[in-house]
Symmetry: C2
Subunit: 221 residues, 2 copies
């Protein structure tokens, strides 16, 4: 393998790590904006969206260039194909952070701010899943990726609980309806972030082990 | 370009068209299951999920094989990279159809079946967007793709309307709360399907014109 190509792959990985940091930061600001009811954090997420979108395109173009100019095989090819998916997943995570931030701004003026139910717990777990998925990519550590997959059911369960609890709250107090609708929206966006972190973890396993674990997570030991 | 390679590309395209048909069928069954309150259609969607997931993996593997065995450049390389994204988008569309079908099954026994508000209109538009996006891929017709992008704002507007109208209904009649929550969930899933159809249309333009139109849809003339 020529040194030049190694350098190209390293650059691609560096861009993806940067993309990962931006997505992670967006989620962190959105979640903390919610928990601390801090509008300035929510606004930071909206301001950062454009940067994430531009970086996604830059990475996609880098992938086309690498594949067009080199003939990568085996592990390198898998890395590049997974990079395209991870890039896409991270951009979507950024979108979900924006959705959360928008809800934070909308509900900020609600005078019926009820309990956030299980949302802070869910958000912290989703943040950890994303951090672990990105770390597993950076350090090429499929064991860490597998630990991410294990949390996905917990997130789904928490999301269902938020939905049910919100319905109960709305039924018992009509004034919580608007807030409840936004809380379930936020909960669902957190669930999607966790889901995309799971996708990234699956891609890292794919890179390392050359097998597609998607839809077969239960088979991984 | 060797004939063998053309054949490989054709096979990949055929697999993607099959994947597109399955996703389109899933959306159609889910939406009609809702409008006609027909549980058997919703169940068909759940039964078909596994087939879509397996085909996604088959297509991903075909992409790795083509890239590993050939050295595609220019238009062919763009087609293959776009194929990976379209494949992923179609699998997600299948997931959203499953979410809708699950809600159809849950609300079927609700005795407070209120009006479906703007949902049938939204669903028909999303179905058309998906059909046009797939047709534009099959016939390599970027003009048709562009028409898909134009509908995205209408879908977003309808989704917001469903949200607002549901909140109003819930406030005026507490018995509609559960139904309203599911209707907004369905509306959101339809909005996501339209969004993914838009992604597919963007990929077709990318294949044809070698430029990434994502996040810059307004620049397309």
């Amino acid at each position: 393998m020529p040194r030049y190509f190694d350098k190209e792959l390293e650059s691609l990985k560096t861009l993806l790590i940067k993309m990962g940091s931006l997505a992670e930061e967006a989620v962190h600001f959105a979640v903390n904006g919610l928990i601390e009811n801090d509008l300035s954090l929510a606004k930071k997420v909206l301001d950062g969206e454009d940067r994430i979108n531009k970086l996604e395109i830059e990475i996609d173009n880098a992938i086309v260039d690498i594949l067009a100019l080199q003939q990568p095989v085996a592990i390198d090819l898998r890395l590049i194909l997974a990079a395209q998916k991870i890039n896409n997943d991270l951009e979507r995570i950024g979108d979900h952070a924006v959705n959360i931030a928008e809800s934070v701004i909308t509900i900020q003026s609600c005078d019926d701010r009820q309990q956030l139910i299980f949302i802070p717990k869910m958000a912290k777990l989703a943040e950890q899943m994303l951090r672990d998925a990105l770390d597993s990519f950076i350090h090429n550590d499929p064991q860490l990726s597998k630990s991410v997959l294990e949390h996905d059911d917990t997130i789904d369960e928490l999301n269902r609980n938020v939905f049910q609890r919100s319905v109960e709250n709305m039924k018992s107090n009509q004034r919580t309806i608007e807030m409840g609708m936004h809380l379930t929206r936020i909960s669902r966006n957190i669930e999607r972030i966790a889901d995309l972190a799971t996708n990234i973890a699956e891609e890292v396993i794919f890179i390392a082990q050359a097998r597609i674990v998607k839809h077969n997570a239960q088979d991984i030991k």
